[in-house]
């Protein structure tokens, strides 16, 4: 490792623009002639549209046009789709209801888009949106996950009788039931995984520009994967063929999954730009984001975990209902199935597992991947039931876990995944040491003297990243391949541009990807530029989610660098009249090993482009591309320990200590990795303590602003103690596992295990608000 290479704690290259106000987000973009859009949205959770009267709105000051769903259909714009086919256990395909970008005859959740107003200013567009008269005939709504399946529940889509999208299973039901029947002890737990709103700080935005002369569209959008946006808008929504559509995702202010999906607004802005002849920009306000960004989680689960007389796990049975909201978002179907149930083995050797998942429609915002996507839900199930079992069995939670750890690799679980490497005891030991686990009882006693209830809880999570081997996910129903692409251009002066299909929206790719190149060729970090987020510049890419940029995106760069290195060595060997096998690259020079012959990197690059003296038959230039398709998922894992103090007078929980010990495989930049863990933990603690998305029975979202939805703030959180003990990932060239989601995956059960330990009552749902905890403590008194 050099000072700027792999493993170095390098300050970020991208920071300069962000700390000086020079970031360029979609809302900062201005195109000549640009006008502003506002959407007319349903105030009802469920209603038939009887009439849309736009006459008054069209006469409002500054209004250019008001467009509705019928016109969109006339122009052939397609419905939104879910791109991952999941089959029910009876073999039938999932029941996908129609989702029109602008509702035509029925609205199904509060916020469903009905019309778009384009006007000279944002204020005028909003004023005119208020003047669009929509006549609705209200219908009964269902918002609750379990109620959606009940007999007589309001029905959302004719395609999905009983609101059931699929009834899916994984694992061996018979073997699992048999093992549970024969068990020495069975722990049963009912679990609710609370609905969350992702809340990237930059609201979603889209700017659509149709160029009539070229018959070409450009879309600036807040996307984690602009190429997928282009592909889907072209192939399914008939916006424009790919060669006529450029998608640009410039600086994007956080994603956390919510900006993976293609939403109605970018489709409608592009279409409206053609209809009106002006570039159309829409920027969500925060309440619009709450109403229409894809939400996360929202599972209701029963789990049974069986043990033999030695407290070894023998079987796990899980039954989950997952709320998908009013429409199936782009990857929604995969979240509670292949990203959830396949991780239910956790870090444990469990011979038999069976999981059944029913996905349901409700009159709420669509639900899809949110940081961790399925894996936090799985971890919460596993780590809550294991902790509960330890209490029931009268065993130390740490020792019960340790006794059941998987210790030999590769390990085939009963639920698809093949774990390739890990050392779970190492993470557990590291976390227990950092948390002074042994000294906890003393601290509990001290707290008691001060009138506080102190508790400790742990969580040993595993997750699957590096998404994913294309053939494998294809066989499971994915509509896309999940490889990544890269191109490395060495310029004539030796500077290097890396074009990547990964997209950075906070992850620091401009720094870490540059470190990779600097490490390989010994060139200064500043001579490397990372290009991403523009379909006209980067050939193709699958984008950033599922902690895949390192394991998959950087692996593609490595493959391209291999090709560049091979050609560079050939050129250098030719220039120095040496054998290419003797050429080594060090400190920005190509050397003949064991001699003092060298060619500086830039001189080799110049030779490639002047082409005056190249090996016979060699093409001029130095530019190589590569696609990397991963061989396996990667399996980051770790142990989190949370220590809390609950004030019995108020029910308020204070996190007094939070320790994270992770195994991320090899690390490119520890500073950035730590930052990812900090942020993930904050979101997990937010889920556990503060955040709860709540609809009332009529389907009104009553947590639709920062006044009502409790975001974690600086004074809700402690500083975190984070460390890593790493086992390299054997399946990719850099040995990387991924670190983007771990914090959000591992932390919620650690927090709830700690609070339930503190209050001596296991019957606690997230978020564990002061009111909820106080009520439990005081109910116990009476």
């Amino acid at each position: 490792m050099g000072v700027e290479g792999i493993g170095a704690r390098v300050a970020r290259k991208e920071d300069k623009r962000f700390i000086t106000g020079g970031g360029r987000y979609v809302d900062d973009m201005v195109v000549p002639g640009m006008k502003h859009a506002a959407f007319v949205r349903s105030p009802h959770a469920h209603a038939d549209i009887k009439k849309i009267d736009v006459k008054a709105a069209k006469k409002m000051p500054g209004v250019i046009d008001v467009l509705v769903g019928k016109e969109l259909k006339t122009d052939g714009i397609g419905n939104l789709i879910c791109g991952w086919m999941v089959h029910s256990k009876d073999g039938s395909p999932m029941n996908m209801g129609a989702w029109s970008p602008l509702a035509v005859d029925r609205v199904r959740y509060v916020g469903d888009a009905v019309a778009i107003v384009v006007a000279e200013t944002k204020g005028q567009a909003r004023d005119a949106a208020e003047a669009v008269e929509v006549t609705y005939k209200e219908k009964k709504a269902v918002t609750d996950t379990v109620s959606a399946l009940k007999k007589g529940a309001p029905q959302l889509h004719p395609e999905a009788p009983g609101n059931l999208i699929y009834d899916w299973e994984i694992g061996e039901a018979e073997a699992t039931d048999k093992a549970i029947a024969a068990a020495h002890h069975v722990t049963t737990l009912q679990i609710v995984n609370n609905r969350l709103v992702p809340n990237a700080m930059e609201p979603r935005a889209a700017l659509g520009h149709y160029d009539k002369a070229e018959d070409h569209y450009t879309c600036w959008t807040t996307s984690q994967n602009p190429h997928v946006a282009r592909l889907v808008m072209s192939a399914f929504y008939n916006v424009a063929p790919e060669n006529k559509l450029r998608v640009i995702a410039p600086d994007v202010g956080g994603g956390f999954g919510s900006k993976i999906f293609i939403y109605p607004e970018e489709i409608v802005c592009l279409w409206a730009s053609k209809r009106t002849g002006v570039p159309v920009k829409w920027v969500a306000d925060r309440t619009e984001s709450f109403l229409t960004d894809a939400h996360g989680r929202d599972h209701v689960t029963e789990v049974k975990l069986a043990f033999d007389a030695d407290n070894k796990m023998t079987a796990m049975k899980v039954d989950t209902i997952a709320n998908f909201g009013a429409y199936m978002s782009l990857f929604s179907s995969s979240v509670p199935t292949y990203l959830y149930a396949t991780l239910l083995s956790g870090q444990y050797n469990i011979p038999a597992i069976h999981c059944n998942v029913r996905a349901v429609y409700t009159n709420t915002a669509p639900v899809d991947a949110y940081r961790g996507a399925g894996r936090p839900e799985a971890t919460y199930v596993v780590e809550r039931v294991v902790e509960t079992a330890a209490r029931e069995l009268g065993m130390s939670p740490a020792e019960l876990r340790r006794r059941n750890f998987i210790t030999e690799f590769p390990h085939q679980t009963p639920v698809i995944m093949n774990y390739d490497a890990g050392d779970y005891a190492a993470s557990l030991d590291a976390a227990m040491k950092a948390a002074d686990y042994a000294g906890f009882e003393k601290r509990r006693e001290q707290a008691k003297k001060a009138g506080k209830l102190r508790g400790i809880g742990m969580s040993c999570y595993i997750e699957a990243c590096g998404i994913a081997p294309s053939a494998a996910v294809g066989s499971l129903g994915a509509g896309v391949g999940l490889w990544e692409s890269a191109e490395v251009r060495v310029n004539g002066v030796g500077t290097i541009e890396v074009l990547t299909g990964s997209h950075s929206h906070g992850q620091g790719h401009e720094t870490t990807f540059s470190q990779l190149v600097a490490d390989r060729f010994g060139v200064p970090l500043d001579s490397v530029s990372i290009v991403h987020g523009d379909t006209d510049k980067v050939q193709m890419g699958m984008g950033t989610y599922g902690s895949r940029s390192g394991a998959v995106g950087m692996s593609a760069i490595v493959k391209a660098l291999d090709k560049v290195e091979a050609k560079a060595k050939k050129i250098a060997a030719h220039l120095m009249e040496a054998d290419e096998g003797d050429i080594v690259i060090e400190n920005g020079e190509l050397k003949v090993a064991g001699t003092d012959k060298t060619v500086p990197w830039f001189q080799m690059a110049l030779a490639a482009y002047t082409a005056h003296n190249l090996p016979e038959g060699m093409e001029p230039g130095l530019k190589e591309g590569a696609f990397y398709d991963p061989a396996n998922f990667t399996f980051p894992a770790g142990c989190y320990i949370c220590e809390v103090e609950v004030d019995p007078e108020t029910g308020r929980t204070e996190i007094v200590q939070f320790v994270a010990a992770d195994d991320f495989g090899n690390i490119i930049n520890p500073m950035i990795v730590e930052g990812q863990v900090h942020g993930g933990i904050a979101q997990g603690v937010g889920q556990a303590l503060l955040e709860g998305c709540h609809y009332d029975d009529n389907g009104q979202l009553i947590t639709a602003s920062y006044m009502d939805y409790c975001m974690p703030r600086a004074d809700d959180l402690p500083s975190f103690q984070v460390s890593t003990s790493n086992t390299p990932c054997p399946s990719n060239p850099l040995g990387i596992k991924g670190c983007g989601e771990a914090g959000a995956i591992g932390s919620p059960p650690a927090v709830i295990n700690a609070i339930t330990d503190a209050i001596g009552n296991n019957d606690l749902t997230m978020p564990a608000t002061a009111q909820k905890v106080w009520s439990i403590l005081n109910a116990a008194k009476h």
Binding site: G23, G254, G675, D715, S719
Partner: protein
């Protein structure tokens, strides 16, 4: 419509704006100073914090007309030419930002915080309490708190005092 004039980052500006124009929209849309961001509708997130006459203000909670005659400093005006303000430098050094969207507001709030308490006089609990009006979704605040404490110490050593609106 009303005519407003003010000094922004040391430059006199004036424009005719709708009466309902907020200061943040005036800065972003009329002056093209897009470093100041809008992250919510309810003055909760703090992405729009600027300095008005030397004090941190959420520019979404103020009409442009109310700022008439004031001296405004935005994130674009905080550095001294190419020399970063110590708070900006500390955010970079301590990885106090990820996506960068909340960052301008964080930096403007932090600068004001350090000045109000006096450089070197901050502790972690105070910084966390003072940051109540600024939401970050990326960093978990860990490195933001670290950066502000470091900047506070640097400024106490006299290495660059917060630039007041000129």
């Amino acid at each position: 419509m009303s005519e407003v004039s003010m000094s922004v980052n040391g430059r006199e500006v004036s424009a005719t704006v709708e009466g309902r124009t907020l200061l943040v929209h005036f800065l972003r849309e009329h002056l093209g100073l897009t470093g100041t961001h809008v992250g919510c509708d309810t003055s909760q997130c703090g992405a729009c914090v600027v300095h008005v006459d030397g004090k941190a203000v959420k520019s979404c909670s103020m009409l442009a007309a109310q700022a008439a005659g004031s001296q405004i400093t935005t994130i674009e005006g905080l550095a001294d030419g190419n020399d970063l303000h110590p708070v900006q430098a500390a955010f970079k050094e301590h990885h106090g930002l990820q996506c960068g969207f909340c960052t301008p507001g964080m930096i403007m709030a932090a600068t004001d915080m350090i000045e109000r308490h006096g450089p070197g006089n901050l502790d972690e609990a105070t910084v966390r309490a003072e940051l109540e009006g600024n939401i970050c979704r990326c960093t978990g605040y860990h490195n933001i708190v670290k950066a502000i404490l470091a900047a506070s110490k640097t400024m106490a050593k006299g290495k660059g005092k917060a630039k007041k609106a000129a």
